[in-house]
């Protein structure tokens, strides 16, 4: 007897699993197919050395609180861990640490930049207004900006109402934030080079742009709005535990999940998706198919371009990916000693971003396909707050390194050497502690996880690829030119990260229909 599923979801990111959970909770028969061995894909936590676990791709983030509550994920083992500080590693082994508690942060800033300290809290308040606006926009399917429907006009009016309520002074300020560069933003607020450098770091995370680019402030706000801001959040057991909890919830509602099962194509009859074809030739039927993959992979590999209009294919080709994030995980025999940093600071995130220009210069090289010897790095030692990740007394270090341009053919060795060399400037004993390592470059992410150009967010989070333009103008509401085929991944609104909101938005849309 052939089973016809109500929904087949290809991929198992937090978005895909969120969607699976909501649909199966609504009594739909759901099948999730993850091509890789790892549930969650790049949002998994895996063993890369005997006894050591580390996040594979994304190394922080959290599900939107609505999802956690609506799906009662704490009942399925989800435990959020917050990293409450960021430490800026500076030249000559200097550093400063900012707490997530603004008052404590102000005290620290006071010691080296008194005038900036006065403005810090006001700065956070302004960012918060913009963040809240984005949060509202992220909870709904993007509005069609051109000739919106009646419902969309109401939603738009609500968003504009929120903006208006900020007041005559703040409203235009928030609008400015959305379009400006992080350099301009930080120059307007602060004087101290190092403080500006640290605060700029978030604006280029996962982006192949420098701090001088318009729209980098939007990228910063995006990360704040998805709860993955300066103070990175994770889960007990690593990012993968988020997917595990979602999977447990989905399964408890009846969803089926397959891993290590390759999908060769989406079956299409008469411009309508009818199921998927596995690499072993098996065909599984469904009344709708949802791809968690980015638009380019979905519409060149899973769907044949022949089934699509040439104009659409051209637009798919133009989506900007340009992955440039490399990830390095180190299994360490002991805790590295960072000069001047106590254990509390090491529990937070360590950032190498001493100035706004430092990041821009690292990006300058990437534009021409090269890797700068002075990279932007975010690193953390998750085993300090979660001992389950490493054998007793030993530690795991996760490193996020930019820019490693996709087109640069940069080897894993080069990336690893650079990461260790750079961090050794601050922790001289680091190299001697490394037992084993794992490196993933954008090319690896593409080869192993089918991420176009190795981009971790399914396409850059630029304004030209956000909201009603994500992943493509005219197809930003999770629908595709193929009937009964939808997208639900980071490639869709609201974009990259662990929030799960694309999955929730699509679930709302499908159940509304």
């Amino acid at each position: 007897m052939t089973t016809i599923y109500d929904a087949i979801i290809i991929g198992s990111s937090p978005n895909a699993l969120t969607l699976a959970a909501y649909l199966s909770k609504a009594k739909e028969r759901v099948l999730v197919i993850e091509p890789s061995k790892y549930l969650g894909g790049i949002a998994s936590t895996t063993s890369f050395a005997e006894g050591f676990q580390a996040d594979l791709g994304l190394m922080s983030g959290q599900l939107n609180s609505k999802i956690i509550n609506e799906l009662s994920l704490s009942d399925y083992g989800l435990e959020v861990i917050e990293r409450n500080s960021i430490t800026s590693l500076l030249a000559n082994q200097k550093s400063f640490t900012l707490s997530s508690d603004p008052k404590e942060a102000v005290n620290v800033i006071q010691s080296f930049a008194p005038r900036d300290a006065e403005r810090y809290q006001k700065f956070l308040e302004l960012l918060n207004l913009a963040k809240e606006l984005l949060e509202s926009a992220y909870l709904i399917t993007p509005l069609q900006a051109h000739n919106p429907s009646v419902v969309e006009r109401e939603q738009l009016a609500t968003l504009l109402g929120q903006l208006h309520a900020y007041g005559r002074r703040e409203m235009p300020e928030v609008i400015r934030l959305l379009v400006m560069s992080s350099r301009d933003l930080l120059d307007e607020w602060f004087e101290n080079t190092e403080l500006k450098g640290l605060l700029a770091s978030l604006s280029v995370r996962a982006l192949t742009q420098g701090t001088f680019a318009s729209g980098t402030t939007f990228n910063l706000l995006h990360h704040l709005a998805i709860g993955d801001g300066y103070f990175r959040t994770t889960a007990k057991g690593g990012i993968g535990a988020i997917c595990q909890a979602l999977a447990k919830a989905a399964k408890s509602f009846g969803a089926e999940i397959l891993t290590d099962t390759k999908v060769s194509s989406i079956d299409i009859n008469d411009s309508t998706a009818t199921g998927v074809k596995l690499e072993n030739g098996e065909i599984i039927k469904a009344t709708k198919v949802i791809s968690d993959y980015d638009a380019r992979y979905s519409f060149t590999k899973l769907v044949s371009p022949i089934d699509l209009e040439p104009e659409f294919n051209r637009e798919v080709k133009h989506i900007r990916y340009k992955g440039s994030v490399a990830r390095v995980n180190l299994a360490l025999s002991d805790l590295p000693s960072f000069t001047g940093l106590n254990q509390e600071a090491l529990k937070g995130t360590l950032v190498i971003s001493p100035s706004v220009a430092y990041i821009e210069k690292a990006f300058d090289r990437a534009k021409y396909g090269q890797m700068s010897s002075q990279p932007f790095i975010e690193a953390c030692i998750p085993s300090l707050s979660d001992p389950t990740l490493a054998p007793s007394g030993k530690h795991v270090m996760s490193i996020w390194l930019q820019y490693v341009p996709y087109k640069g053919n940069i080897s894993q060795e080069q990336v690893e050497n650079l990461a260790i060399t750079k961090l050794s400037e601050f922790a001289p004993n680091l190299k001697s502690l490394v037992l084993q390592s794992q490196v993933l470059t954008p090319q690896d992410f593409e080869a192993e996880f089918n991420l176009s150009e190795g981009h971790l967010y399914g396409g850059e989070m630029m304004l030209s690829q956000a909201f009603f333009l994500r992943p493509l103008a005219g197809f930003a509401q999770y629908q595709t030119p193929i009937e009964k085929l939808y997208l639900c991944g980071a490639a869709t609104h609201p974009g990259g990260g662990i929030s799960g909101l694309a999955g929730r938005n699509l679930a709302n849309k499908l159940s509304f229909n």
Partner: protein, 528 residues
């Protein structure tokens, strides 16, 4: 002490100041224009720096001048004669070149030598840019609305903006939204594959702005330059007989004929403000002039941080003006030549190309590297240049047999590390000449005289803060209702009876005349 009272005083006789004065006079106001230099025109001038040679020491081309301004002020009757620049010549170092001819088919033929595919795409590109430019053009003539306001005027303007945008075709609307937020380089990559074609097209995205062609935001600047129209011809650059100064003289003549009084050599030191109301101006020599309306053609920083006592302004507003980005990378170089430069890659029989624009912009990467060199306070080792030989178009610009070459050059930072001085000027001038000589090897032998205006000189000579030719960056957060300050984008200021009419206001820089014209409309709304 001059007690004569005017209806309006315009500080600065730049082209926008003159346009503004002319419109106010046309509405019956008695107007005085005060210009600090010996001649009107501001940066829109022609000067004889070296005997017999007329230099375009600042702006050099006219494209964006609103046709409304030309017609309403009858500028043709006042001697304005714009000669369209017919071609663009992009010499390359490998001996090849790219040319853009007035004839569309000829251009396509040129492009197809580089890429057949691009030659095909070129038609659609031209049509699309024309449609987009036409679509946004009505926004140029609007007094920007305050989106936080619910006054009938603001609501009506916002409805107009909404109407303009929703009137667009769906695909054009999306394309516009993307173009506004992306980089010129990414946009062109979507259309073309030929390296020099993309290079020359990308220049429209970087002229006058301190961004590289790969910086998001330059897509808007690209479009901004497409809005230009001379007699309805899109993306047509023109050259005014007598140089851009010819344009200023025409506007000045129109203004005078409408009764405007223009005083040169009259630098204003301060705007006189009493109880929050502007009542007049004081010159550096102590003379005072009074009027009911005071308009500043100077940039926002100069206006509010130098000409007005800060005690008359709210702190928030001062902060807005201080943060207004105005770093500039643009220089002007003028060369007096004993003959014509011989470009290695210019084929025999195509010398007519020298009558047009000559662009050193072989690729987007070339332009981007030029930006990289300058953006941390330096200058391009291989600069971008847009050159013109005005003496070929207007023989009066140089003695017989001799020529003048006028070049717009980027990038050299207004915030040069260590500051600008005469030695550094000379050094950068050599960089420019060395670069150009790679394309035209005889250049150095025919130079009679050379002259450079760096951002430093543009500031010292014209009072342009940081030498910014657009009175402030055309970055997205400084456009439309945010230019120059969120609450004060409608040409009005926190000081009653005091207005702005320069390029720091919507729609920004270039010789459009639109800020001057729009400001006059705002003023006449308040004081008909």
């Amino acid at each position: 002490m001059n007690n004569h009272k005017y209806d309006a005083i315009v500080i600065g006789g730049g082209h926008n100041g003159l346009v503004n004065a002319a419109y106010l006079a046309k509405a019956g106001k008695q107007v005085l224009v005060l210009e600090r230099r010996h001649t009107v025109g501001g940066a829109t001038i022609t000067e004889e720096v070296y005997p017999g040679f007329k230099y375009l020491i600042a702006s050099y081309l006219i494209s964006l001048l609103r046709s409304e301004v030309i017609q309403e002020l009858e500028l043709a009757r006042h001697g304005l004669e714009i000669m369209p620049l017919e071609s663009t010549f992009v010499p390359l170092l490998d001996g090849n070149y790219l040319a853009d001819w007035p004839d569309h088919d000829a251009t396509k033929h040129e492009i197809s030598r580089h890429s057949k595919r691009d030659a095909e795409a070129y038609d659609e590109y031209s049509r699309t840019m024309r449609r987009l430019a036409l679509a946004v053009r009505p926004l140029l003539d609007l007094i920007p609305p305050d989106p936080t306001s619910v006054t009938p005027n603001d609501l009506a303007t916002m409805a107009k903006v909404k109407g303009t945008l929703s009137g667009l075709r769906k695909d054009d609307f999306y394309l516009l939204a993307r173009l506004m937020t992306m980089s010129a380089g990414d946009f062109l990559d979507e259309w073309f594959e030929s390296t020099p074609l993309k290079g020359t097209k990308a220049t429209s995205g970087i002229i006058g702005t301190f961004m590289g062609p790969r910086t998001p935001g330059t897509g808007y600047v690209l479009l901004h330059h497409y809005i230009g129209d001379i007699d309805g011809v899109f993306r047509a650059w023109g050259f005014a007989r007598g140089g851009t100064g010819g344009l200023s003289q025409a506007i000045a003549s129109a203004a005078r004929s409408l009764g405007v009084e223009i005083k040169v050599n009259s630098p204003v030191a301060q705007v006189i403000v009493k109880n929050g109301v502007a009542t007049g101006v004081a010159l550096e020599n102590g003379d005072e002039y009074f009027a009911d309306i005071i308009v500043s053609n100077a940039d926002a920083k100069r206006t509010f941080l130098k000409l007005v006592d800060s005690k008359n302004l709210p702190d928030d507003f001062i902060n807005d003006i201080k943060r207004f980005r105005i770093s500039s990378p643009a220089c002007k170089v003028n060369l007096a030549l004993d003959g014509l430069p011989e470009f290695t890659s210019l084929p025999k029989g195509k010398e007519a190309l020298l009558r047009g624009s000559i662009e050193i912009a072989p690729s987007i990467d070339y332009l981007e590297r030029a930006y990289d060199d300058a953006k941390y306070g330096g200058w391009s080792r291989k600069p971008f240049m847009d050159a013109l030989i005005p003496s070929l178009l207007d023989p009066g610009m140089a003695p017989p047999g001799k020529h003048i070459m006028s070049m717009f050059v980027e990038y050299a930072s207004s915030d040069l590390e260590g500051g600008w001085n005469e030695e550094k000027k000379a050094e950068f001038l050599d960089v420019v000449i060395d670069t150009l000589a790679e394309y035209a090897p005889n250049l150095k032998n025919i130079i009679l005289h050379k002259h450079i205006m760096t951002p430093w000189d543009l500031e010292n000579t014209f009072g342009l803060t940081a030498g910014h030719i657009f009175h402030g960056e055309l970055s997205l957060q400084q456009l439309f209702f945010l230019r120059p300050s969120p609450q004060w984008s409608n040409y009005r200021t926190p000081i009653q009876n005091f207005y702005m009419c320069g390029s720091s206001t919507h729609p920004g820089g270039c010789i459009t005349g639109a800020p001057g014209r729009n400001a006059a409309m705002a003023i006449l709304e308040d004081r008909p």
